[in-house]
Each structure stands twice: as structure tokens, then as C-alpha cells.
Subunit: 306 residues, 2 copies
């Protein structure tokens, strides 16, 4: 039951010899969600062995080049590989003319449809769901309109203990109630008897969740919006001492990213989108862990099991 993040690029605006621009692919049980698509994403995907045709959804955070300039090549490649399945893109309205220009000038012979959903929410909103998974988007605080994303497993059906079925002589209807996570409430004469869900059933696995926040300056609502996710990816473009530059460019420092993780009570924090000023960002880690110990630095081509 995959819930695996492929980090394809951890650069900010300027790529380096070690870092490609922002792009990620989250594999949720074999269904692939792409988040941002910086230049070279398709080459990184090839190296990572990710199937182009299994990408069902592409989430675009904002239309700075380092988050989108790989989409032209990727969409062209999908077409040349004979894709027919529709592709869903979720992006700010500002991406629409870019996509339209691309499809008009380079989309000849495409056998698949590209459906773009324009993001314009002011708080987290569900933008897609299937039987097991939900995709939400929410606004970030950047120089241009930008959005973050949450991909999470839905709460699974509860399993009912066999012992409870015998002990309480549970009916089919009552088992269904427990599976939905509810308590069983019985009328026995004048009396109301409650069989608490927690006593008769259990959650077979904890639903996993992933939040992506890049690019963004910190803002008060963010911790609430990503509260409790299993893994938070948050940009940390700058080290702590460059907080003025971070503020000016609507980015975050290490400390700000870690503070958000702490306030949000997330499971783990992963940071990226490093300024090209720093060939090594190892010293970011001490700053981050001083506030939120369960932090790691993302590297290009990292594969993270969530």
C-alpha cells in the first residue's frame, strides 16, 4: 500500500549541479499525483523509473518558471507515448493562458484531454477524491497567487473484533454501524445500551497524509490547515539569518518552516527549495531540528515512504 514521495527537484529559482527545480510525484497505491513540474522533471522521472502514463493529476503551486517549465516537455512526451487517459491539472488561474498557449502551439496530435481546474479558494477545499484518497488545496502567501496541497488517505472502514460479534451477538446492521466508525446504540426495554466503537472495532491502519507548502512566507492560518499531517514538505529557501531576504521575497527560513511544523503537530518535516547560494545546506538541519527534531533535508531523487 504505497504512499511514497519521489522528490525530483529541490532547487529554488536557480538550479545547481546537484539540484533540479521543484517537482515531486506522490505514489498513492500506484496512482500518481505530481506536484509542480520544474524543468527537467521528465528526465528525473525517467531516472527514478516513474511511469509518465500513470500520472493522473498535476498540481501546480504557482506560475514561477522553476515550478512549471518542465510541463511542456512532460505533456509532449505523454502525447508521444500515446496517452489517451485524461490528465487533470489543478493550478491558479494565471496558469490557464500558459497551458492554452502550449496546447495551441504544441498540442497538435494529442490524443488525451487536459482538464484544468482553476484554484481560487481562500481556505482548504477538497478538489478531487476517489474511493480511498482526497486531494485538497489551500492558499499560500507568496509574491504571486500560490497554493499548497494536501493528499491524504480517507479514514478506512473499521474492522470489527470477532470476539465482540460473539459477545454482543451483533446483527449485520450493527456490524455495518461499527464499520462506519459509529457506536452501536440499542434499546433494551426502557434502557439505552451503547456499545462504544472503540470497544468493538479498530482502525486497520492509520490514514496517511502529505502536505506540500512551497513557495510561501509564514502566515497564521497555515499550521491549522496542515494540522497533524504525517509528512509536511515545507520550503526552507533561506537559513535563519536571512529572514529579511525571506520576508522580502515571500519565502521561509529554516526556523519558520520548523515553527509551522511544530505548531501544526505534524509527524515529520521535510524541507527543500534551497537557495542556490548554498552549495551545501547541511547547516540548515541544525537550525531546523533546534525547533522541530523530526526534520530531514530533501535531496533530489529522494524516495520517502510516508
Amino acid at each position: 500500500m504505497n504512499f511514497t514521495l519521489n522528490v525530483l527537484g529541490t532547487a529554488s529559482a536557480l538550479p545547481t549541479t546537484e539540484r533540479y527545480p521543484s517537482a515531486q510525484v506522490l505514489d498513492v497505491r500506484g496512482r500518481l499525483f505530481m506536484i509542480d513540474c520544474g524543468e527537467g522533471a521528465q528526465m528525473q522521472m525517467r531516472k527514478a523509473g516513474i511511469s509518465f502514463l500513470k500520472i493522473e493529476h498535476i498540481c501546480i503551486s504557482h506560475i514561477h518558471g522553476d515550478h512549471i517549465f518542465g510541463i511542456f516537455g512532460l505533456l509532449s512526451t505523454m502525447a508521444m507515448l500515446g496517452r489517451t487517459a485524461p490528465l487533470n491539472i489543478y493550478a491558479p488561474g494565471s496558469f490557464k493562458p500558459v497551458l492554452q498557449f502550449f496546447l495551441t502551439n504544441f498540442g497538435e496530435g494529442f490524443l488525451y484531454e487536459v482538464n484544468m481546474t482553476e484554484l481560487k479558494m481562500t481556505a482548504p477545499e477538497l478538489i478531487y477524491e476517489n474511493r480511498r484518497t482526497e486531494l485538497l488545496a489551500f492558499p499560500l502567501n507568496h509574491r504571486v497567487e500560490a497554493f499548497g496541497f494536501i493528499i491524504r488517505e480517507k479514514m478506512p472502514q473499521h474492522n470489527v473484533y470477532k470476539e465482540a460479534i460473539a459477545k454482543y451477538n451483533l446483527s449485520i446492521a450493527e456490524i455495518g454501524t461499527l464499520k462506519r466508525g459509529e457506536d452501536v446504540v440499542r434499546k433494551e426495554g426502557d434502557e439505552t445500551v451503547v456499545i462504544p466503537n472503540s470497544e468493538a472495532a479498530y482502525i486497520p491502519y492509520a490514514p496517511r497524509s502529505y502536505a506540500y507548502c512551497s513557495d510561501t512566507a509564514p502566515f497564521p492560518e497555515l499550521a491549522d490547515w496542515v494540522r497533524g499531517v504525517t509528512l509536511l514538505y515545507h520550503e526552507a529557501t533561506f537559513p535563519a539569518e536571512m529572514s529579511e531576504m525571506a520576508a522580502k521575497t515571500f519565502h521561509s527560513t529554516t526556523l519558520q518552516a520548523a515553527q509551522t511544523a511544530l505548531e501544526a503537530g505534524v509527524g515529520r518535516l521535510l524541507v527543500g527549495h534551497y537557495s542556490s547560494r548554498f552549495t551545501s545546506v547541511d547547516f540548515f538541519l541544525d537550525e531546523l531540528r533546534s525547533i522541530f527534531p523530526a526534520t530531514d533535508l530533501a535531496r533530489d531523487m529522494d524516495v520517502v515512504e510516508i
Copy 2:
């Protein structure tokens, strides 16, 4: 006195794990000419240690994505690095709206001018020259309007033998004549005396030349147009047995590329733009050398001294 080709990508339409899309940089005595700019070109340039800001000219062969999708990132990076020197782009007219759209949507804050020269010649034409170098373009034979390029050193001033100066008692004016490569013609009474250039002067180095032909099907004039270049880069998308596919897609096979090199009497042939069908193209080489022995297969990141 550099005349050095940096091969950044040798893929055709679909990149592979080993091959990026078409992009090259020719270093002519420290002045850089880029030819085609497929996705990821700027990352390959970083790896090769090529300065973004030294690129003065970008030649675009045609507007298929695998030859241009790297230009958005590269031009953005140049701007972020503070470029102020104008950039010259030579491209088919079809590239103009692409460039215009890019500059309108992503060119905010650019401190340098992008000058595009529209190619529309029907035979080789000089499109740029400086003191030592000439850049020519000529049409190719592809599915869409496409152009090839020649970059060549001008014939250098001849050096005059010291012995000849003494022997013929050459005047300053006569030495100037010899330096320009002309014969000295003297009137001695009724007699005309000729001092042949070849006897009194010599060419200090053979001017070097490079021709780029991709993408193209073979056509009769091509060999004439690239006659005698020191190095010919010619696409060889397909092996000999796929000649039907080559004809259908307006590409060349190994044998066709080698035949053009042979007819043109070039110094050496370098091929690339390989179909992604072939993980290894080693067997291309036997086919190529059966016709033109001085042939090599280009690989990504090759550095070729011309």
C-alpha cells in the same frame, strides 16, 4: 584558440536516462554560440561548467519541443544572474510568438534585450559576423520549417616569410598585399613580375568550421552547402533499416548522414539525435563508418575540439 563543441543533449523527441534533448554550445575563442536549447540545457551547462552569461547567440533550428523547451529556463536564469548584455536569437518565424509569449508572461524584470532574427533564406546566408567568425544559416528539409547553421573562422591574415621580405625587398604596401592573401604584382620596366602569395606567405592556421544539421531528411543541395567543413554534426535518428520511418518523419538514417558527409568532403562527422527506441546506438557506428570512416557518435556532455 578554442573552437570547442559542447554536446549537451543527443536525444530525439523522447529523452532517455542517458540522453537529454538537443542542445549544444560552440566555444569560439571564449565567445559562445548556442545551437538549439532542449529541456534541461541549463542544467547540462552547469554540469559542463559553461557560463550562462557568455552566451551571445542562440540558434534555433526549428520549433519542435525537443529543440526549444529549455530556452524558457535558460533565459530566466540569465535574467536572475543579472544579465544586461543583449542576447541574439536566430530562429524560424514560427518561434517569434513563442518568444513573445514567454517574454510577456515571464520576462518581467529582465535587464537585457532579446533580439530575434527571423530566418527565411532558401540557401546559405551570412546572419552574423565579428572580426574573426562568421555564422551562416541555411534551410533544412524537415516536417516544419527548419534551419541548419555553419559557424566558421574567417580566413586569417597570411604571415609573410622573413626570408621573402629580404629576398624580394618587399615594400610595406606589398607586405600588406601578401597578408591579405593576394599575389604581389610588380611592373619592372615593360615586364610584369608576379610574386605568388604561396611563395612569400603562408596561412598561420587553417580556419576551422562547424556545421549543424538537425533535424533533416537528406536533400540534394545539402552536401554543397556544408562542403569541406572541419566537423559536420548531422542527425542520425534511425539506423539504415528504418529508412521508411526516416522518410516519413523527415529524418535521416545513419547511411544518409554518412553519405552527405562523404559527398561534402567534410573533415569529420559527428552524429546524434538518436531515436529513443535504441538504448545503445553502438551499432549505428558500423553503418556510418562503412560509408564515412571519420565518424563518431555524439554522447551527452561530450567535449569535442574542432
